[in-house]
């Protein structure tokens, strides 16, 4: 008995020690009674990469905007207007030469000044096909060379003119990094050296990542005034984020579940912010594989899907359904009333189209590939029920996103649910989703007209014509129906009353660097 008691005491002591240790470590993140000058943001995902050009995930990009800067700033909330960030000005010298002039006062967070050499280094490294250096070379294929003309001038040589190259340079993976840092063998994490107003402090795997304010930020005009540190807490479960917000553990809650919004609205301390989003969820076909190589059948499916109900069920009405394949708000985007014809929800028409396609109701059984997580697992049964109404039986195959991508890339699917979120560059949408033999062309579309029009949209310098091409292509897709665009959810963010200075975009590329809470 004594021995057992001793043992028990030892166990208890051991556990208490671990406990105490853990508690101490957690102390940093313990945010009860948040001081005013810190900002804690509850996010739905964990960051997974600290080197900007090794990734392209929204959550990471939200962090890089704090620590790094791009050449130019693309204002998603303002018609994708370009403004200076690191580059004071820029111009196309001819069809293949783009020149940037940098500000001259920029300093990295390790004190070294930023020069054209750093920009050239960054862009050239990003162009590398070596996956240990860069994983985003796919977006820079047009570039043939980047060189520093002098300390503050960079010249980019391209193989052809592109309307959208400049937008690529405004993407977060292409934030400018320090050449010197990479060349310093002592620096084990050179990618942490950036010019942004914050610097990386700590990433506690599975829990949070914290950034602290720099004292020596170069751009006084954009200098953040309040938050001395910004923490992203990874609260993967939506309801938890809401509760955490209400309990004051976090100041901002990204993507609160729509069903909980009424509780947040009742809460006097909380503001619910809503704005139009850009991320498109769609139902797509494998147009190379029976039975959806049949255009009429695809049109029938398009007519059978009750998009508004999906918006109601999945988003509690907070979203818009659409017909165009482009992301809402993108340049040249055609809203539902601007589309010619189209195949909107109409069961009778769907049945007629099904008959036209040569199928009897009940004759067809198809597989729908869907990811196991939200919202796909909710959309899939609705699609199933919709198609059931016109006599198409759907068997849902659930799989994780990785498998889904592989399966779709290999063309095993008949129907699948997926998403797309590109705002500034419509060419990427046309090219990556529909261009013949493009790796991410999961619809397996091979259409010469589409390819030709996509190329035109990319290179046409006459804005009028370019717009027309894009509209034509959108209308063509509406008729071709390689995918049934479903809806774009609104961006919903809940935060403490008094939050100011946050730059929020419908696509999710938020900038929190100047956010603070007014007491």
């Amino acid at each position: 008995m004594r021995k057992a008691m001793t043992l028990l005491i030892v166990i208890i002591l051991a556990c208490t020690t671990v406990w105490a240790g853990a508690t101490k470590e957690e102390g940093v993140a313990a945010t009860t009674g948040t001081p005013k000058d810190t900002l804690v943001i509850g996010v739905a995902q964990e960051i997974n990469e600290q080197n900007p050009m090794m990734q392209n995930d929204q959550i990471n990009n939200n962090c890089f905007v704090l620590t790094h800067e791009r050449l130019i700033f693309v204002d998603s909330n303002n018609g994708y207007l370009l403004s200076p960030e690191l580059a004071e000005s820029w111009e196309w010298k001819d069809d293949t030469h783009l020149v940037f002039h940098l500000f001259k006062t920029i300093k990295f967070n390790n004190g070294t000044p930023l020069t054209a050499a750093d920009v050239a280094f960054t862009l050239n490294r990003a162009r590398s096909n070596d996956p240990t250096k860069s994983k985003i070379s796919g977006t820079l294929k047009l570039i043939t060379d980047v060189s520093a003309l002098d300390d503050y001038t960079v010249q980019i040589t391209t193989s052809a003119f592109s309307n959208e190259l400049i937008y690529n340079l405004g993407a977060y993976p292409l934030v400018i990094q320090s050449k010197a840092a990479y060349e310093d063998p002592a620096n084990k994490a050179p990618w942490l050296v950036g010019t942004g107003p914050y610097r990386f402090k700590e990433w506690k795997e599975g829990q949070y990542v914290t950034y602290e304010k720099r004292d020596d930020y170069w751009n006084a005009a954009k200098e953040p005034s309040i938050a001395s540190s910004i923490t992203f807490r990874f609260l993967l479960e939506a309801s938890q984020r809401v509760i955490a917000l209400q309990n004051g553990e976090i100041d901002v809650c990204i993507d609160p579940p729509t069903t909980d919004l009424k509780f947040l609205k009742e809460d006097a301390n909380i503001t619910v912010h809503t704005q139009a989003g850009t991320r498109l969820f769609y139902l797509s076909f494998n147009v190379e594989k029976a039975p959806f190589d049949n255009q009429k059948l695809r049109q029938a499916v398009s007519c059978a899907i009750d998009k508004q109900t999906i918006v109601d069920i999945v988003l509690d009405g907070r979203g818009k359904w659409q017909t165009s394949v482009l992301n809402r708000g993108a340049w040249s985007f055609l809203d539902n009333d601007q589309v010619e014809g189209g195949y909107a929800y109409d069961v009778a028409r769907a049945k007629a189209l099904l008959a036209e396609a040569g199928y009897q109701p009940g004759q067809l059984t198809v597989e729908l590939f869907s990811a196991t997580d939200d919202p796909y697992k909710t959309i899939a049964p609705i699609v199933q029920a919709n198609l059931k109404e016109i006599g198409i039986n759907v068997v849902i195959k659930s799989m994780d996103q990785a498998t889904l991508k592989t399966e779709c890339a290999n063309g095993h699917q008949q129907l699948f649910l997926w998403r797309w979120n590109i705002g500034a560059r419509v060419d990427e949408t046309y090219r990556e989703l529909f261009y013949t033999n493009f790796p991410t062309n999961y619809a397996q579309l091979k259409d010469a007209y589409v390819d030709q029009m996509a190329d035109k949209v990319l290179t046409e310098k006459d804005p009028e014509k370019r717009l027309q091409y894009s509209h034509e292509l959108q209308n063509y897709f509406v008729e071709l129906v390689p995918q049934v665009p479903l809806y774009v959810p609104d961006l919903v963010i809940a935060y403490k009353k008094g939050l100011k200075g946050a730059y929020l975009t419908g696509g999710g590329a938020h900038d929190w660097s100047r956010a603070y809470i007014e007491q």
Binding site: L8, N129, D130, E205, G206, T372, K405, A409, P439
Partner: protein, 300 residues
């Protein structure tokens, strides 16, 4: 132990290999070029035959490298270790909580066998065993976080963050252990040596605690040892429900993301962990049972 781990690693490696999902899709963004995909495949040796990859992996482990996550690029061993203490903290607290409840309750019910108190406690324990613990977790959140607002619903931090997950895992464990303790105690009570002790004139307390519990400890410790894998399972669920960054959730998340190195590595490390725990249980066991101690010390 070593062959077991080898077979386990082979099985897991094979299973993860068969599971769908191209690792290149995990590592590269969607718009990566064919060219870059091929370079990556070559670099990572994805094109090699299965056994080559497996032995390379084992070789890596032997040289202390368990690989890097496809998703976060972090070192697998480091990530696992970084989360291990969270799971140990949760599992340990749950176990202590369970023991503190179940051992006294089990003894009490055994001593009051077939009275209403016994029936009540037994039925409660049955309810505890019958509850899915993730559901219990949800209900606890509903009550203590949402309705009462006493405790945080998830995440990490001070002790208040530990309470709900530990209770969630601990309650069903407590229910199980109460039943074990009760039946162990009932078994012991029937033994002749208990009558011997009573016949010696030992007081009731002495008989129960000095003679009874010491013997009942043996099956109880066995049960606790057997329950470690249950604790891990329970933790995996509770960690998901409460957003507790432990290894259970790590494995589940990694599988959902097809993070093969993380899954393989974590499961192998889990096995090592279980082996260590089993060893610890054996040692505790030897403390409780001199017959086993004798086996270890070589006396008969």
């Amino acid at each position: 132990m070593i062959p077991t781990l080898l077979v386990t690693s082979l099985l897991i490696f094979w299973a993860m290999d068969l599971a769908g999902g191209d690792p290149v899709n995990q590592i590269l963004p969607e718009n990566a070029t064919y060219e870059q995909r091929e370079i990556l495949r070559e670099q990572m040796g994805f094109n090699d035959p299965f056994m080559v990859r497996y032995f390379r992996y084992i070789g890596g482990i032997l040289s202390g490298d368990m690989g890097k996550s496809y998703i976060s690029g972090l070192d697998v061993f480091g990530t696992f270790m970084g989360r291990l203490h969270m799971t140990l903290l949760l599992g340990g607290s749950a176990l202590i909580f369970a023991c503190l409840i179940s051992v006294p309750l089990g003894i009490y019910t055994a001593l009051h066998q077939n009275t209403w108190k016994d029936t009540l406690a037994t039925v409660l324990a049955l309810f505890g065993v019958s509850m899915p613990n993730f559901w219990l977790g949800l209900m606890l959140i509903l009550l203590f976080s949402l309705k009462l607002g006493w405790l945080p619903s998830g995440g990490t931090g001070g002790i208040q963050y530990l309470v709900l997950p530990a209770v969630t895992v601990g309650l069903s464990l407590a229910a199980l252990l109460t039943r074990t303790t009760r039946s162990a105690m009932l078994d012991v009570i029937r033994q002749d040596y208990m009558t011997t002790a009573k016949a010696k004139g030992a007081s009731y307390r002495r008989v129960i605690y000095n003679h009874g519990l010491r013997n009942a400890m043996i099956p109880i410790v066995t049960a606790v040892g057997m329950q470690f894998s249950y604790v891990m399972t329970g933790s995996a669920l509770a960690e998901t429900v409460f957003g507790w960054p432990g290894i259970g959730r790590l494995v589940v998340d990694s599988i959902n993301k097809r993070d093969t190195p993380m899954v393989t590595g974590s499961i192998i490390l889990c096995c090592v962990l279980m082996a260590i725990i089993n060893l610890a249980v054996d040692i505790v066991y030897a403390f409780c049972d001199p017959r086993i101690k004798a086996q270890y010390s070589g006396r008969s």
